[in-house]
């Protein structure tokens, strides 16, 4: 500090300046810069410490919300709350996670929820941190995943330190993300903070679930609580999600039992063990095809052939139009319905309770015959019961015959998958199928969880538990932080977390690898390293074809080559066990064995496998 502070108090005006303390002032003061000042320049003694900052109460509030982790890249606007959570709160419930990018913090929170069905918190600067986090918040929004965001800010202009603190302060912190969060508030008192903190949690966890943001004003954090002040923390009660109207449910049951070939699309359903059980029970009761919603991958009824359907039951569909229509990406875009004439559609979805407009993630409007604005998981028990009551002996025989035909078709699909895997078995660059089945052979008898959205090439992987896959909402850059967050949730159960990691996705914010190592989060990451933003390669090629131009330049601006990124060294530098690049498919199995041994010992491990383009 080059110059002495102004003698007058400008921040804690409510603190009384100590009248005495002359002894402390008798000697010249030497500032950190080495500059000595005279006694006449020394400020009068002030109360310089407090053992009851407002942030301690904020910590008490957050502890009532039973949040297990809070992720952050450190920042001064929440320094007081951070210190309070660590010391006063003993760094438990929530435990602090050190992140190297706010996008990683929020991405981890998204992944954690998708396994644990419990929200995590992420705290960040209300300006620069939130700007970094915005894409990850948007990913959570598109994925209908709740994340508890806490934004540091200094609202009172007279309390801001000159310089950066001004640039890091804002009138309305949540404004920049308000289009893709569900609710926010900027409390101006501790009681206000408590009410809004509980309200935010309640709103966030009521379907449709979305992120919420709560501003923790720095002045509110740092101001000492008045002696004897008692602040109230409201009781948290999560609303029961809305179940479908009973008459409408009865009507859907009649339609399902009467249909010749109903197809269930599970959409976002299946994130809980209960919802997955209900989905399977409904499909088995009807002996009809079901897909999506984490419906067990090898179940004889797994399938979504809507072209055969005379009735489609769409449960929490993220994109119903796309489920029953096809659009071609040609110069003139054409669309056609995949449904046969007369087929009917019923939807049960909390998206009908959704209230946002600017960002277009709600997809194209699809006409339906009956829409129930309700939570599908909450509605399924009554629907299943209604269906069972309506099934006659004749219908039961019909259903059983239908089920046998569907199962026979599934058996053929298994043969096709095996032939396809064999066809690419020895390829170099390595095929996704080779990776998938080498890995399956080593984990199939263990408790595993794929934390990256599926197993490319692994059509015969047996996904049957709700935590064994993560579905939905995976934009570029969202993969690796989501995977680390999911692996964090899996850690306490001793599950093997498996992350098939796209190369381009990793390079947005690879610092999350360090976070995984630092917090001892075991996970196996296998690079899907095709050395490019391959989706974009294909888009560029499409444009060149469309315009009758040079077909050889699609890699310009889309390839991640020259130099190749050495992902193994990248991971090693951040504390991971790593091998690669691996190009020989015969090396995959032994490398997986070595890496899995590290993971089971509690370490994150990465294999850089050079892969086919898709």
């Amino acid at each position: 500090m080059a110059r002495a502070r102004k003698a007058s108090v400008n921040r804690r005006s409510f603190l009384k300046i100590a009248a005495t303390g002359a002894a402390a002032l008798s000697a010249p003061v030497k500032y950190a810069s080495g500059q000595q000042v005279t006694t006449s320049e020394v400020p009068p003694a002030q109360i310089l410490t407090t053992e009851r900052p407002g942030a301690d109460f904020m910590t008490d509030v957050l502890k009532t919300l039973d949040i297990e982790y809070i992720a952050a890249n450190p920042a001064s606007s929440f320094r007081c709350l951070q210190e309070s959570l660590i010391n006063y709160g003993s760094n438990r419930q929530p435990e602090w996670l050190t992140c190297m990018h706010e996008e990683s913090s929020v991405g981890m929170a998204r992944g954690y929820f998708k396994i644990e069905n419990k929200p995590m918190a992420a705290i960040m600067h209300g300006v620069v941190g939130l700007q970094h986090a915005s894409i990850a918040i948007y990913h959570a929004f598109c994925d209908r995943v709740p994340v508890y965001l806490i934004l540091g800010n200094t609202f009172d202009a007279t309390e801001r330190r000159p310089g950066a603190e001004w640039r890091h302060s804002v009138q309305d912190a949540a404004a920049m993300v308000r289009d893709y969060i569900k609710w926010d508030d900027m409390p101006v008192s501790l009681d206000h903070f408590a009410e809004s903190a509980v309200r935010a949690y309640k709103i966030m966890m009521t379907p449709p679930m979305l992120p919420v943001a709560l501003v923790a004003d720095s002045e509110l954090q740092e101001r000492p609580m008045e002696t004897g002040a008692r602040h109230h923390i409201p009781k948290l009660t999560i609303p029961k999600p809305p179940a479908g109207d009973s008459n409408a449910v009865a009507e859907v049951a009649r339609m399902l039992v009467a249909a010749d070939y109903p197809v269930i699309t599970g959409g976002r359903l299946g994130n809980t063990a209960n919802s997955l059980r209900l989905l399977v029970e409904l499909a088995e009761t009807l002996q009809c095809q079901a897909s999506g919603g984490k419906f067990p991958s090898l179940h004889p009824l797994n399938g979504g052939d809507v072209g055969q359907a005379d009735l489609v039951l769409a449960l929490e569909p993220p994109d119903l139009w796309n489920d029953v229509n096809t659009m071609t990406d040609q110069l003139v875009r054409t669309t056609r319905s995949d449904l046969k004439p007369g087929a009917r559609i019923v939807s049960i979805s909390t998206d009908d309770l959704y209230m946002k407009s600017n960002y277009q993630d709600f997809q194209r409007f699809q006409e339906v015959d009956l829409a129930i604005a309700a939570d599908a998981e909450a509605t399924l028990p009554s629907l299943i019961e209604a269906v069972k009551r309506l099934i006659t002996a004749d219908r039961r025989r019909f259903f059983e015959d239908r089920g046998r035909k569907i199962a026979a078709a599934r058996a053929q699909a298994r043969d096709r998958a095996l032939r396809q895997a064999a066809a690419v078995w020895d390829l170099s660059p390595i095929s996704s199928a080779r990776i998938a089945y080498e890995l399956w052979d080593q984990v199939k008898h263990k408790d595993w969880s794929v934390v990256s959205g599926g197993m490319p090439g692994g059509a015969l992987w047996n996904f049957e538990k709700h935590y064994q896959s993560i579905t939905g909402g995976q934009g570029a850059s969202s993969g690796v932080p989501c995977a680390v967050g999911a692996a964090l949730a899996n850690k306490k159960y001793g599950r093997i977390s498996i992350n098939i990691q796209n190369d381009g996705d990793l390079m947005y914010a690879p610092g999350v690898l360090w976070t995984a190592a630092h917090h001892r989060i075991p996970m196996l990451t296998i690079m899907n390293n095709n050395r490019g933003y391959h989706q974009e390669v294909m888009h560029l090629q499409r444009m060149a074809c469309r315009h009758n131009r040079d077909l050889t330049k699609a890699k310009i601006g889309t390839a991640i080559e020259d130099p190749d990124v050495h992902y193994a060294k990248l991971a090693e530098s951040m504390g991971w066990y790593a091998e690669g690049p691996i190009t020989n498919p015969n090396d995959v199995g032994p490398a997986l064995r070595r890496a899995l041994a590290r993971v089971e010992a509690g370490q994150p491990a990465l294999l850089d496998t050079v892969m086919q383009p898709r």
Partner: protein, 130 residues
């Protein structure tokens, strides 16, 4: 890799292309079929790699998430050319301005040289998948 959100769409494209190619094998020609000369597999391999066929169909024409297997068993050359010029689904069109019939004949010849897929039974690990 980018935008895995389109995975579901691509899966649909794969199925669509399988269907479309099957259709192309049997569909009558609506335009005069091209009498292309026998192709050069060597040149076809170079073209396959340079004009981007690998992007959807894989480096060995094995197929993948974005396009079906197209070798070594391919549709007849006239149908092949017809489909590449006028794809009925989501494959981008390759016109004669950017890829001559003789080029397509070379690619077609190359596709026939692609090794046949292994039999799943010959791979012990696949025998024990489930």
């Amino acid at each position: 890799m980018k935008r895995p959100l389109v995975r579901g769409m691509l899966a649909g494209i794969v199925l669509a292309l399988f269907g479309a190619l099957a259709h192309a094998q049997t569909a009558p020609s609506s335009s005069a079929p091209v009498a292309a000369p026998p192709g050069s597999a060597v040149n076809g391999k170079k073209l396959y790699e340079s004009v981007g066929c690998w992007q959807c169909h894989g480096f060995s024409a094995q197929g993948g998430q974005a396009g079906p297997r197209i070798g070594p068993e391919s549709i007849a050359l006239p149908a092949f050319i017809r489909y590449v010029r006028q794809p009925t689904r989501s494959m981008p069109p390759y016109t004669a301005k950017v890829l001559k019939d003789s080029d397509l004949a070379d690619i077609h010849a190359y596709l026939k040289t692609v090794p046949k897929p292994l039999d799943p039974v010959s791979i012990p690990l696949l025998k024990s998948v489930n």
